[in-house]
Symmetry: D2
Subunit: 345 residues, 4 copies
């Protein structure tokens, strides 16, 4: 049994981690941190977790450092303060915040308005989508789970870029997210129910922070220049990301080539499924799970390829992926505690 | 490992049973029936169940009769046709349809517009809310899970009626349900998304079929006459039942008496939780689970007691309760395959 | 043309007033106040009001005092500060806040945690549901529009209480509201989209502030004691109130008597419609309008009468009713600027 | 007063037409047709229209032929049967179905699986977006309102294509629609509330019928070849279309050029508003109205321009636009009966 700490346990990512790990046969939840609710029990904050009698603590690096693993779900700039101490204690880290996702420290001032205090750790950190970086994750001390949109985009695009089937400089990714992507503490007007309900809108046009993550990871798969136009949208649902990618196939590439590339890549993956021709993924299929569904198509009139990815922003886009990484680092079956289909409808 | 058949596997109740039983360590899904999709795989109907490679069959009593258990989720009048054959084969049955819920066959013409063809089985059938009928369920050949509203009402009211704390002739139950309660095949205008979304309405006022179930079971707990005014409402969400009961406490009964009665009754129950004073249940806490939360209060100005119950109509109100019954009949830990909190939010 | 001020113009009630009054042929919007957005144009706050080029000001009693009418939508305690000055200037007031709804100043400490600074004005203020208090409103200097739940309850119950058909001491009112009832500035966790969406819950059980309003106004219609058990619920929609009342008919009263009482009372009302037997109101029918639909029924098994009212909490429950009052005070057709059916669906 | 017939009066488009025209000072609703509800009153079908005491009739070309105008909202293939008779009677037609949108009769077999029986009328029919075709609409006998997505796409793209600022062969349009776009009679599983709610999905990928309309009308604005990749998505709301267009600016074109082009084109338009830099449209702003909001932006990293359009699929996307066309054909102020902002929130 590994002792695991969840740092940021009362956010939506944290509570999803608790749900998933509660029944994990190889994990003991040894430490739950929350700055706002320290001293309370998790069930005081989330009464539906009445069976989990854990008490919340302020983040204490010494206590966390006694754990085998720490799962961090913190705002930008917070992980970099604590991760060095944890690594020094021998605690391995899965961080779902942005602090260790970008390899180039020079990107942090622009995208996060902060200077990176631990640039040396950026070299070590492993951007962690298990389907793409499995072996490195197994050995990682510091796994950085990417953003929810990034995960969707990478799963949709990595095979096609890696196989050289599309023009990597002409990628358009249109994302739609449920409102839980805004987190629990962001009590802002756009997420106020009467405002968000029955509304659709674009945001962060031309400047969403997940774009440089997408480019960084896709660029690692090709020598040609990668450029991604990414526009996220809020749609009125709680969970789910749907990402529709518009791609320019390279000459002589056929629709079958695209599908074959995706199918080949994910043939042995437990959590990614390529749908048959003509079927398109629904976010509802993924709610509460670590799964991602991909649809692959072709617009004859314009010659564009279209790939659609659906996942749960709190599942494969966050907590599910963290548990999958943890499983790899633990050396147990990668699907442990994740083999549950969506509750439908 | 028990061989279990699910009859009506492609309805919302059926697919929830598949989800729950898929990871049940003592159960093998041996037979899935669907009249509309026979010959297809379950994943053709529900692509998110891609991992469950089961094929759907038309209901074949002989094949089902070889199973140890049959879980039935069929429309009114259908279970009574097949249950006798199953029992004869030695197959034990958990039926979530209405055919074996009412002990008085004379009620079927009025409430279901049909004559009961197996009145003798009504005597044997066990109306099955494990918290109320545990021992009888363990031994049952034929367990009849009550309606979703009935389950909420019984869990909210049984302690107070049994302990003689309220006037059983003056019970008002106001229910609110998500739209999945209408099932998957009922493609009717009131459940069309643009109609149901952003709307609240009452229905079946003065005549909902779950009312006689409530009365029958509460009447078994008291010599005084039981009368329940029950009004269900549709509210625009997928899952969840919230039932608010307005009660007249008997003379000298205090708010503490009511709370104590509920707490005592459910102290050792895994799935029913009585909230502390001043806290009220949310249906969201129960989504996808077998849990039920109860809030107990008092309206000083009018002297009425108020009990609010929240559960998932497809969970404790349907498939979850069926699995709980199955566990009792199997003789395994009652919480097997049900120890999972809600995915929140 | 009357000069009209809207005080609290950027709340949901204020913006609904602007929408309704914009096309009112007898009204000029002369002053819009907003404490948070003073100096901005209304279209800076609500871009969809791009055609309304009004500038927002801090509340300036002198400026408002030059208007013929002031429509106030302010939090508790704020109206009582400014209304005396407005009345002194000869400005007539329609206030939708709670400051002038309760006739007994002694109720304010308990229900609003404040001492009333203008108790003498409580005698003059007219609790204003036009269908019940039309003549007094016409002559009023200070009209106090009741709460949204109160309006629904009064329209549903006033005929039956006034006609002596039900026991006024045994009234149960179960309310369901959309989230816009929480207002725009209340950025609290329960109204955060991921929390409120897909959830139903009770709140303020045994202690909602609209209850004493209901009792006060119903008590004015009967010598017998009035007692109302009122429980409000949040359901996941933006607009709409559905109120289900459970009533004890007096001896020898028939279902037809109840229906006849309601039909008689509202026969000549433009905004209240009694549905035919067996039909029940939908909140969707009222969205964006000043209408209220009533369903009247009877639960034979228990002998309870059931009346269901549907209205829009921001329409007949707030801004619509204010405009209806303004029309009465102006002496114009009561339906001016309100003759628009709901946008359906 | 013009006599106006609404053909298909009980669909969502028809009922929206009734709402809008009810208060139109120059229009008398002379004939309402409904095949399913002939003989009933409109208020039997839509109780919220209780004030509109019109009776529904089966479509009778002779009776409609006595009207000055007929507004048609019929399924594909139905308008072409009746329009010739109406035109012969001197009745002018606004048709929102697809029968007269495409100028090339050869497109009907492919996109609608039917042969066009009135190809000669396709030459006369005017594809009618008032902002683009105002003068022709004024004189038209047969105005064909385009599809809801088409309207959004044309309003977003026409200025940029006409001004030669973008490559018309490289247009990507990602559409998101509320479920009311499916209509009222399409009681299909994807629109069943429990399925559509809390889900996002793509549909008709590479083959939606509105694409050839977009291409036809944009092609009329440029000599260069137009190609549009259009992918529609269902998102869980009732009303609203959000269309995000990804465009390749031609060499030396600046962001300011794009914005200036849109602003210039719509400077004097009542219903189209170009938002300031950095602001993006919300569908909620348009609910129940004839307005369209445009946001214009630029993705620096990729050099793509992005234009987002929001409108109400039943408003500017359907009934609102039909009324705007009718106003033009009537020769009255184009905004008559349409000057109402959205009910917010």
């Amino acid at each position: 049994m590994a002792n695991v700490a969840i740092i940021g346990a009362t956010g939506y990512g944290g509570v999803e981690l608790i749900r998933l790990l509660q029944n994990h046969p190889e994990v003991r939840l040894a430490f739950l941190s929350s700055e706002s609710y320290a001293g309370k029990r998790i069930s005081d904050v989330y009464p539906h977790l009445a069976g989990v009698e854990a008490v919340l603590h302020k983040l204490d690096p010494a206590a966390v450092g006694e754990c085998d693993f720490a799962l961090l779900a913190l705002p930008a700039g917070k992980s970099m303060e604590v991760v060095p101490k944890l690594l020094q204690s021998g605690t391995r880290v899965v961080d779902v915040g942005p602090d260790f996702r970008l390899r180039d420290p020079g990107l942090y001032p622009r995208w996060y308005q902060l200077d990176h205090s631990q640039p040396q750790l950026l070299k070590e950190a492993v951007l962690s989508v298990p389907e793409l970086h499995r072996e490195r994750i197994k050995a990682a001390r510091l796994a950085a789970a990417p953003g929810c949109y990034t995960t969707a985009a990478l799963l949709a695009l990595a095979p096609l870029v890696a196989d050289g089937l599309i023009d990597p400089a002409d990628i358009i990714a249109d994302g739609k997210t449920g409102i839980s992507g805004a987190g629990r503490t962001a009590l802002k007007l756009p997420y106020h129910h009467p405002e968000a309900n029955e509304d659709a809108t674009a945001y962060a046009v031309g400047g969403h922070r997940h774009m440089p993550e997408m480019v960084q990871e896709l660029q690692a798969l090709t020598d040609a220049e990668v450029r991604v136009t990414f526009t996220p949208h809020l749609v009125p649902m709680t969970r789910g990301i749907l990402l529709t990618a518009y791609l320019k196939p390279l000459p002589n590439v056929t629709p079958d080539d695209l599908r074959a590339s995706c199918e080949r890549r994910y043939a042995n993956e437990a959590f990614v499924r390529v749908l048959p021709d003509g079927q398109w993924p629904h976010t509802k299929w993924t709610a509460g799970t670590n799964s991602c569904f991909l649809g692959v198509g072709w617009d004859e009139a314009s010659g564009r390829a279209i790939v659609v990815a659906a996942l749960d922003n709190l599942g494969k886009g966050m907590a599910g992926q963290m548990v999958q990484c943890l499983n790899l680092m633990l050396g147990v079956d990668e699907t442990t505690a994740l083999r549950v289909p969506a509750a439908y409808p």
